[in-house]
């Protein structure tokens, strides 16, 4: 189901344990990761993650709030958005 897909975008200074911390949190919230891409942009580490929250017993808000806590600890910027916004905006 497309409605349950989310895109997580994490960016900030590179350091040890970023992917581990985020994926551990996603596992805790029973979110299935479908794809991960990462890159360095203008000296910043940027990670994009496609996941499905359809089988999680947690709500979108609970998951987003949980991930935000992790991002705050890592001192990184985090965006958690339903994937549909990207699909609608960039395809005819």
């Amino acid at each position: 189901m497309e409605e349950t897909k989310i895109i997580v975008t994490l960016s900030g200074a590179d350091k040890v344990g970023i992917v581990a911390a985020l994926t551990a949190a996603l596992a805790k919230y029973e979110v299935n990761i479908e794809d991960i891409k990462q890159t360095i942009m203008q000296d910043y580490f940027v990670m994009f993650l496609l996941a499905d929250i359809g089988k999680s017993k947690y709500s979108f808000k609970e998951i987003k709030d949980g991930l935000m806590e992790i991002a705050n600890e890592l001192k990184m910027e985090l965006w958690v958005q339903k994937k549909q916004i990207f699909d609608k905006m960039h395809t005819i």
């Binding site: 942009m41 940027v46 496609l50 958690v80 958005q81 549909q84 990207f86 609608k88 960039h90």
Partner: protein, 455 residues
């Protein structure tokens, strides 16, 4: 495996974070026609109950969707059936009371504005219409969230000059009653020619007679996104390329509006109405329609060429947006409200943008003379003349035009009027002081124009 493009993600986040892309408003359109009664207290009770029932979850759902897509939904609003009709069957008219009920209901459901304290009087007033018009100054000064609009002209009916004269007086009185707030009540009041019945933007939102019981209409924004896209273009890009860039950007903005609108309508379990694909500026830095003119190559808004630039912008926004939504409606185009656009304010302060140039621009923009502050001692006849001129532009060109003008009490040309929030601030602009008294006092109606022999 589902495909996803990192470029698309970065672009979307940039549009929201750096270029002020937002959903300006989700507006619940609600018919109040079943609230009519002979007792005004019963009418008030029915209105309050209906609004609080239908809009109970509007604000909460908007917050949820805002969080799910990380796109700001700036305002939640309600538009209702013109109240002139709803209060007209009462044995004793009390439109100010009904305005207060609307305000209380809007407060109870936590929306930013409620529109529909309105009347459609392009051919003449019924008794209820006239009573509503006379009550506007008190109604707007006694409430916080109520917005009022009066349609005084259409291309098919002509211009009701008697109503224009009345509205000039109503605007002046509204400003005077809120003199301590630089005439704020007049900022919540607009006169229209060819008003659309599904517009989600204030102050002109109302639910027209042909609209369904309820619907969810969305107003998108995004001048900052268009400016950024135009700035990125090669400086030598020709006009076709410029127009195409604007079209593509408008498409992206509008699809977002459509998505949010459909989600909201689904959650509220009501039909989705229209996307109004307007470029609505805010006083925030960069979120400016005048900024787009500069990016196009004009030194400032007001330079010769501004009208042409606006015409292309307005048209390209519609062309790009119409493809992105199943139903486009409302005002749809580029707004040019002076006080709500940081670079328009600056251009007006510097004298680059004059009242007359703004009037010329309204012949090709989406609405009209919007959020323009003029001296508080401007005669009523001059205000009536300003309205009549603007209505004539709409009537002849078969487009929507509007006047939202504030004669700021006790202030003179060059001084500033400050409203704050989305309404912003503006310098008092100079108007032409030549007398038009004998012309506007003729009253009556300017006949509808011929619709052939176009020139």
């Amino acid at each position: 495996m589902t495909f996803f493009s990192t470029d698309s993600i970065i672009e979307t986040i940039h549009m929201i974070k750096l270029n002020n892309l937002d959903i300006r408003t989700v507006t619940l359109s609600l018919s109040l026609r079943d609230c009519i009664d002979t007792d005004v207290k019963i009418v008030g009770d029915k209105i309050y109950d209906k609004i609080t029932k239908y809009a109970k979850n509007l604000s909460r759902y908007a917050d949820e969707i805002e969080n799910e897509y990380s796109i700001p939904i700036v305002n939640k609003r309600i538009a209702v059936t013109p109240i002139s009709l709803i209060g007209e069957s009462c044995k004793e008219y009390d439109y100010v009371y009904l305005a207060k009920v609307l305000d209380k209901a809007a407060e109870a459901v936590n929306v930013d504005f409620i529109g529909g304290f309105s009347a459609l009087v392009e051919k003449g007033c019924t008794r209820g219409d006239r009573a509503l018009l006379d009550s506007i100054p008190e109604a707007l000064s006694a409430t916080n969230k109520v917005c009022s609009s009066v349609n005084v002209a259409t291309s098919k009916s002509g211009i009701n000059m008697k109503a224009v004269l009345v509205m000039a007086d109503v605007i002046k009185k509204s400003a005077i009653l809120t003199a301590d707030k630089d005439g704020l009540a007049a900022a919540k009041l607009v006169c229209f020619c060819n008003t659309p019945s599904d517009n989600p933007f204030m102050a002109g939102a109302f639910t027209g007679y042909g609209e369904p019981e309820c619907a969810l209409n969305v107003g998108v924004s995004g001048p900052g996104v268009v400016r950024a896209a135009v700035e990125k273009l090669d400086k030598n890009a020709d006009m076709s390329e410029l127009a195409n860039t604007i079209k593509k950007t408008a498409f992206k903005i509008t699809t977002t509006g459509e998505l949010i609108g459909r989600e909201m309508a689904q959650k509220l379990d009501i039909p989705f109405g229209v996307v109004d694909l307007s470029l609505a500026p805010t006083p925030a830095i960069g979120d400016s329609v005048a900024g787009i003119f500069k990016a196009m190559g004009l030194e400032d808004a007001g330079a010769h060429g501004t009208t042409a630039a606006l015409a292309m912008l307005n048209d390209a926004v519609k062309k790009g947006g119409i493809m992105a939504s199943s139903h486009v409606g409302g005002l749809s185009g580029a707004f040019i409200p002076v006080s709500e656009d940081a670079q328009m304010i600056e251009a007006a302060k510097l004298g680059h943008l004059t009242f007359d140039k703004l009037e010329a621009m309204t012949s090709v923009c989406s609405v009209g003379l919007d959020m323009i502050c003029i001296p508080g001692d401007t005669p009523n006849s001059t205000i009536a003349g300003i309205i009549a001129d603007e209505m004539a532009i709409g009537m002849i060109n078969k487009k929507t035009t509007a006047v939202r003008i504030i004669p700021v009490p006790n202030k003179k040309v060059g001084e500033m009027a400050v409203y704050g929030g989305l309404l912003g601030e503006a310098p008092i602009m100079k108007v032409n002081n030549l007398s038009n008294e004998s012309f506007v006092q003729r009253s009556g109606r300017i006949p509808a124009p011929i619709h052939s022999l176009n020139n």
